[in-house]
């Protein structure tokens, strides 16, 4: 019954759209198409890229083509690991903010997680705290998330209380955190070296796999899916989520309407921090070797993914589905460029151009057409 109604609704909407299109004159039809092309430029570029790489991989006679199951799983895996941070920074962008400290929070919690969960059996000499017995995993997860939450709450508090721009606040905390990471990796017997040799239980909880269709999918992909669901719930089904959109769209009006701008801002930054902290825990085990440069610039990819996914810098707009799409698209681009053997220098340039295009398309929505 319900499905039928929804289907009918969609059909009706499509019919009216088609009728609206039919009554346009030739000039307006051309305009409609050019608008359509510009609006979907990113997707069109990516579809073309995928087709090109697919043909290229068949021509080159690879046993696995670009669109093979294995390669798709590879993209899913990479997306899973970078989704946490994008989910966190997405909420801050909805509040018209940005977060430059995300990568450093991840780096700090990665180092802390790794140092607490180093193997005691083999390779005794490289252990950061030789006399430490690995605490329970859940405790380490909670510590990581608590550290993230603390920094996030601090960022949010400064933004809301002192009316500072998040760019400035997170620029400062980013520096502070960098100092903290550098100090932390000097602790114990580590002396600034990479922190590796993680316990099996730690590696297993992150990188252990479930076999689906003959391909191993690591646990962290499922954690990312769960995180996406929780964030979807928060954004769409809680007062906090609704207030977030309102504060992002117009903080003054939100205040008059009885929404606490302070509370909303602090909570959104805190949730973001929790996600960064958790992603640090995941990243440490996923990468295996951690140091002061872990997580550097990771926030830039996360912000780019949000923008590509339609989370607008003008505030009050964005969806979790968009962020997930943005993260996946960004990974498709990376993987495709690697398939083509594009050197990493060129990859940066291409990524930069794609982000510019995405933001330009986003801004077009708010410009009054003349």
């Amino acid at each position: 019954m319900k499905e039928n109604r929804i289907l009918q609704g969609t059909l009706d909407a499509m019919t009216t759209r088609w009728q609206n299109y039919k009554i346009l004159d030739a000039k307006d039809k051309r305009l409609w198409w050019s608008n359509f092309l510009i609006k979907n430029a990113i997707y069109i570029i990516i579809v073309l890229l995928v087709i090109y790489v697919q043909i290229y991989s068949i021509r080159s006679g690879y046993s696995n083509t670009f669109l093979s199951f294995r390669s798709i799983i590879d993209i899913v895996k990479r997306s899973g690991s970078s989704l946490f941070m994008a989910l966190g920074v997405g909420g801050i962008i909805v509040l018209t903010g940005t977060d430059l400290s995300a990568g450093r929070i991840m780096g700090l919690t990665a180092c802390i997680s790794a140092s607490l969960l180093q193997n005691t059996v083999e390779d005794y000499s490289s252990k950061m705290f030789p006399n430490l017995n690995a605490p329970p995993l859940i405790l380490v997860i909670l510590i990581s998330m608590a550290i993230g939450a603390l920094v996030g709450a601090f960022n949010g508090f400064c933004v809301a209380k002192f009316k500072l721009h998040p760019f400035i606040v997170t620029l400062a905390t980013q520096l502070i955190l960098y100092g903290a990471v550098l100090m932390y990796v000097q602790l114990g017997t580590n002396g600034g070296g990479p922190i590796s040799g993680l316990t099996d239980s730690y590696k297993n909880v992150v990188k252990g796999t479930i076999i689906i269709g003959g391909t191993a999918i690591p646990y962290y992909v499922f954690y990312a899916a769960i995180a996406a669901f929780i964030m979807w719930f928060i954004w769409n089904k809680t007062t906090l989520g609704k207030n977030m959109y309102a504060v992002g769209a117009n903080p003054e009006a939100a205040n008059v309407s009885g929404v606490s701008v302070m509370k909303t801002t602090v909570l959104i930054f805190t949730i973001a921090g929790i996600l960064y902290g958790f992603s640090g825990f995941i990243e440490a085990a996923r990468v295996g070797s951690n140091g002061s440069s872990t997580g550097v610039n990771a926030e830039l990819d996360a912000i780019a993914a949000c923008v590509i996914g339609g989370v607008s810098f003008t505030g009050g707009m964005g969806r979790i589905s968009g962020i997930v799409t943005g993260v996946i698209l960004l990974q498709i681009i990376s993987v495709a460029l690697q398939w083509l053997g594009v050197p990493s220098e060129t990859q940066y340039i291409i990524k930069g151009v794609i982000i510019l295009v995405a933001v330009a398309i986003d801004m077009r929505k708010y410009l009054t057409k003349k």
Partner: protein, 497 residues
């Protein structure tokens, strides 16, 4: 001498699905004030945007002093002697008056920009217009009225022959309006053609030579102002006879609901304000801009800090520390600046309607139910007759009147006892105004108490039961709306001005 300064001939403009302008023609003669009237959406702004090249007209032509013109942007229009003083002034707030006037064409001397010449030229224009504004003052330190004068000076500096005024009086006090009219008259007398757009009937008849009325994108009629009455203009604008501008009042004030005692603000300039509000009463607050009218509402609603005084609601002292306390104590507030502090322009009708009331939509104490939100929004759309295609439409696409109704709906859903409205009909067309008045009277009839701040005295006299008058932060009078008149109110409003 060219008698016909500007001729607008058969301009048509179509937006997808809407015929915004349908063969509109009008002629502005030299040395006259030509008023353009019509409800919101009648096509006045679209016509002006076509003139200034912001939109390209589909057909028709503009003839300036016998020459066909086709401007592609506002700057080009200005250079050719066609200027506009906007309702919302587009100025660089952080720079000086003279820099704003000469922006884009600074006089260049041997050592860069010639500030001395700029200063002298600006001063000359100001003296010519009888303005006493310091050319070096920063724009953001000026009042709205002064900033408007700067815009006019800019138009004069371009030697404009046609000057368009778009709702210039909507945020001016009566004294400032007088001053503005003197300047408009002096522009007229030196041979300019003025196009004057306003919703205020009385001033239209006071200053115009000719009045053109538009409706639904079409030219309805042009007549000399001397032959017109307010009722005739309204009839042309709405396309029907409008018996009354104000609906009949049938609310009966009951016992005292709210008592304000010696309210003094911490930062703002309002001192020792005391008054009472009755159940089912509409209480007006009159006064000049800056007299402290909005500040009273802000202090009652917790948007500003109270220094001393008591607010007693139903016999109990209430402290509205912020808007959340106020909301929980049964207060509601609709602010003056709809765009800045009212609507969430990128959000849809449903989100805009339900935002003040989120806690009510929790299903099973767990998640926000879209169904409950949709139901309440449907109620608001129905009860307030909000014209919208559906709940998912962006509020930005609605007319000002309908946006105002959405905000009213937002607050009615919180079931307030005391509804505070700050300039509720500003920038809203006649038909929608009537509906807002009717809603207010109905709400009062249902036992809600309403405080209404307004700069339009006829509106206060027509809708309110009692009127408080503010002047310079003091309460200078409390009048029975049936037994007072505009002169008495103005005298009280000017007491400390």
């Amino acid at each position: 001498m060219e008698e016909h300064l500007l001729q607008i001939k058969n301009i048509s403009k179509t937006f997808p699905g809407v015929k915004a302008l349908d063969h509109v023609s009008l002629t502005v003669r030299q040395g006259t004030i030509h008023s353009l009237m019509g409800e919101n959406g009648a096509g006045k702004s679209t016509l002006m945007k076509c003139l200034f090249g912001i939109y390209a007209a589909d057909s028709g032509e503009f003839i300036l002093q016998g020459k066909k013109v086709n401007f592609t942007n506002a700057r080009q229009a200005m250079e050719n002697g066609v200027s506009m003083v906007h309702q919302e002034l587009n100025q660089v707030h952080t720079r000086s008056v003279m820099e704003n006037i000469w922006l884009g064409r600074f006089p260049i001397g041997p050592a860069g920009i010639d500030h001395r010449k700029m200063y002298k030229d600006t001063l000359a224009i100001f003296e010519d217009l009888g303005l006493s504004i310091n050319p070096k003052a920063i724009i953001s330190t000026l009042s709205v009225s002064q900033r408007q004068m700067v815009e006019i000076a800019k138009a004069v500096s371009h030697d404009s022959k046609i000057i368009v005024f778009d709702e210039p009086t909507s945020s001016l006090t009566d004294v400032e309006v007088e001053h503005l009219f003197r300047i408009i008259f002096s522009l007229r007398d030196r041979g300019c053609g003025i196009i004057y757009i306003s919703h205020r009937m009385s001033e239209i008849l006071q200053i115009s030579d000719e009045v053109t009325v538009m409706r639904d994108g079409m030219h309805v009629a042009t007549s000399p102002a001397a032959e017109l009455t307010v009722d005739m203009i309204i009839a042309r604008m709405v396309g029907r006879e409008m018996d009354q501008v104000y609906p009949p009042k049938d609310n009966v004030p009951g016992e005292v609901v709210l008592k304000v005692e010696d309210l003094t603000a911490l930062y703002q300039n309002i001192r020792n304000i005391s008054f009472e509000l009755r159940k089912g009463e509409i209480l007006g607050i009159a006064g000049l801009v800056g007299a402290g009218r909005t500040e009273i509402l802000e202090n009652l609603f917790g948007l500003a800090k109270v220094k001393s005084g008591r607010i007693i609601k139903n016999g109990k002292v209430v402290k509205n520390k912020n808007s959340r306390y106020a909301k929980n104590n049964g207060f509601a507030m609709i602010t003056e600046e709809r765009r800045a502090t009212g609507i969430f322009s990128v959000l849809n009708i449903r989100e805009n309607t339900t935002i003040a009331n989120m806690n009510k939509y929790k299903a099973k104490g767990l998640y926000i139910s879209n169904r409950k939100m949709a139901k309440d929004t449907a109620w608001a759309i129905d009860a307030l007759k909000i014209k919208t295609p559906d709940q998912n439409a962006k509020i930005n696409n609605l007319s000002g009147g309908n946006q105002q109704k959405v905000i009213l709906g937002r607050w009615l859903l919180t079931e307030p006892d005391i509804l505070m409205l700050d300039e509720p009909t500003r920038g809203i067309d006649v038909g929608a105004k009537y509906e807002i008045y009717q809603l207010m009277i109905n709400l009062a009839g249902q036992g809600k108490s309403i405080i209404m701040v307004s700069s339009e005295l006829p509106e206060l006299l027509g809708v309110c039961d009692r009127i408080l008058v503010m002047s310079g932060g003091h309460l200078t009078g409390e009048l029975d709306a049936d037994k007072t008149n505009q002169e008495e109110i103005m005298a009280l409003a000017a007491k400390y001005a």
